[in-house]
Symmetry: C2
Subunit: 251 residues, 2 copies
């Protein structure tokens, strides 16, 4: 049995290009993607385009239309808030199970290191936060947290649902007031990260779960605040831009 594969450079190209276009908001939610048009545009045949769309469906960026074909999934404000809620629940579960079952030293070391790096993003003062680095590391933190319990199925499903929704804060922070509020909230979030890890180490499952949930509630309040403070932001930022951190499965 030859466990082989043919060439896949075209599929890979199509996949990456399409993903990038979707995440950048090139296609409004609900847009139907046509194989032929994309194939011409990407200079490949329909086959790798189909393959790419299928994979993007698995990733949650597309959905299959009722009668065939693919649509760009659309997310509205309520979806984003719900996704944060869901994420809090799942991460809470992950944290609780990690505390109940115990965590390998390697994993604990891994996530502690991430938290340590998160600390460094705050620099020397409250006005010196590296938003982009923080956001990137924060995504890793959540993924590793979701992976803690050590069950393949659980890990997989939690990671899937956790991955979907998250705001990249630096993308939509127009005015000074909001920036300042966001810095404060990031400081609180960072405290919560430390507390969650502590609770896991101390094997306090209920507390770890509650903390992770509160963490998500704080994130929810932040997003609500930002969008409500300036309604133009809600309309300007495509909801899809909030989606997809660490969603890749490239090799």
């Amino acid at each position: 049995m030859v466990e082989n594969t043919g060439a896949n450079t075209h599929t890979k190209r199509a996949l990456e290009e399409l993903r990038q276009r979707i995440l950048s908001g090139a296609f409004p939610g609900g847009t139907r993607l046509f194989e032929v048009a994309l194939a011409e545009d990407l200079q490949v045949s329909r086959t790798p385009v189909r393959e790419a769309m299928s994979r993007l469906t698995e990733e949650g960026l597309l959905e299959r239309a009722r009668n065939g074909g693919f649509l760009v999934r659309s997310f509205d404000f309520a979806d984003v808030l719900d996704a944060i809620e869901l994420r809090g629940v799942l991460e809470g579960t992950a944290a609780r199970l990690a505390a109940e079952r115990g965590v390998s030293d390697a994993r604990l070391k891994e996530i502690s290191e991430i938290v340590r790096q998160l600390d460094t993003c705050f620099g020397n003062g409250p006005d010196d936060v590296d938003f982009d680095a923080y956001s990137e590391l924060n995504g890793q933190y959540h993924l590793v947290l979701a992976a803690l319990p050590g069950s393949a199925t659980l890990e997989r499903e939690i990671a899937r649902a956790t991955r979907l929704p998250f705001a990249s804060p630096s993308a939509f922070l127009p005015d000074r007031r909001q920036l300042s509020a966001f810095r404060r909230s990031l400081g609180l979030a960072q405290d919560q990260h430390h507390q969650i890890i502590h609770a896991i180490v101390r094997r306090e499952g209920a507390r770890a779960e509650a903390l992770a949930r509160e963490h998500a509630c704080a994130a929810r309040r932040n997003v609500e605040y930002i969008f409500s403070a300036d309604s133009s932001v809600a309309q300007t930022v495509p909801a899809l831009a909030l989606v997809g951190q660490g969603n890749r499965n490239d090799d």
Copy 2:
């Protein structure tokens, strides 16, 4: 723009046949599925086989191998227990949100009807339970419950994770003692169904969540009991047979 689709009878056939084979345990977990072999076997070309495998990957029954190709996902006992745990958490969230946000009369009517039908499965006495009908309806109950909150994204993710794992009890109940224990537990489960609906109607979010979680814990205990009581069952029943109720997306 013709929102069209070509014929899909071959894909449909391949999809249903493959799904059935996987769920029936024809392929042990980890088995690699080869396009050519399946295409010959099913008397179709590789194209619809590929398409079917891609969709089964979305359903969670297959996974993509590192270097291309598809593997049958394998689930062990721990995976099944974890899946039940996860399910309880998600359904708890669904119940809580339903209680907090309120539920449309139509939806409430829908799920109340399912619970009513579940009641009828118990017949006239404790020895007259229609397991198959109960199991079927129970799956519907869970899916509708997951759909209650009314947010498309949330609904989708909850339904996805909820769908994955559940035991079909009648499939592995060999001896009289277990059967009797199972009847009792089903009665308790049915009580819990009623209580959850009541809590949602009364807008008691925390209670609804706690009840749904307890419901899952009971299910977990049942499965643990059955598998521990007769270790041969755990080895005989392919874990995959526990997967996939209401996972269809046929039209």
